[in-house]
Symmetry: none
Subunit: 93 residues, 4 copies
DNA sequence: ACACAAAGTTCGCGTC
DNA sequence: GACGCGAACTTTGTGT
């Protein structure tokens, strides 16, 4: 019932409700994630580094490698040492 | 036990596992949201408009609050204390 | 000339220099803004309120536009074409 | 003149004008930066990598090294290969 | 491939 | 002086 201009307003409302419900769940999960990071921080862990680790685990090895290579190319082109300028000062083009 | 580099690798792994688990759940929810949008689209609804409606529903309470604050802001700008003059007795010409 | 790894190192360096130069200018402006706020604070003004006023002045035109869109949105939701019924004749129940 | 409740509205307006003027300048600079990135992109450069290079140049070498070391520690603790698993499979602790 | 929108990250601020 | 909060900016993903 209550169709307006060819659209079932009830159906539309249903879709909107479902989406809003799911958005709430998503927010709740996000909050839990923040809590875990906070807990880890409380134990002395470096949150930023943990994020980095997780990001690396999520990334495809191929893509990661590609980005790093391109970065090296640019760094070389600028005459800058590679990202990790700790123990690789052996080869310069 | 099994400490590496001064940290408990088991504890670190636990944190990371928990986060990754939650991230998966979050992604699953996000996917469900996308599915609902897709379903609505299948019924002929305009997804963009639905997003807009949801966005507006989320913002309306906020905007109303903004309006209330606006009143206070201008009260302040005029040097008149708001209804609750708690901690702003610092303005001087 | 001076190509390294297939790219013109001179051109790349030029882009980076330009960006870094602009970033410095941007930071300088940001610092000036902070200084003005500090000066206002020194005269007894409530910085938070000034920020709020500026934010509101920036948002007001936007909000008016939002209101207009809102009308269209609800028109859509009701299945009524907006003033300009250009490309939305796809909604079906 | 036109003081209201102990505040010079003229002075307040002056502060606001100055800030808004500076904000405009800042936005203009930001736009120019975007333009340069766009131009570089048009020449085939990878914008994301350029951003990374600039970020690295901005970062203190000491801090960068520290972050990388900690990352390695965590990676080791998890039994994962170091970030750049390309040509350093020579030293393992 | 672009543009918009959402998320994450960082910086400045007030607080304890 | 450190911590947490809040806003601003940057970045990533998604939809067109």
């Amino acid at each position: 019932m209550t169709d307006v201009g060819g659209i079932s307003s009830g159906q539309l409302r249903s879709f909107i409700d479902r989406i809003e419900r799911l958005e709430e769940e998503k927010s709740a999960i996000a909050e839990q994630i923040r809590d875990v990071y906070g807990e880890a921080k409380g134990y002395g862990y470096d949150v930023k580094v943990i994020r980095k680790v997780i990001g690396l685990r999520k990334m495809e090895p191929h893509d990661r490698h590609e980005q790093e290579e391109l970065l090296d190319v640019y760094m070389h082109a600028l005459g800058m040492a590679p990202a990790s300028d700790s123990e690789e000062e052996k080869a310069v083009a």
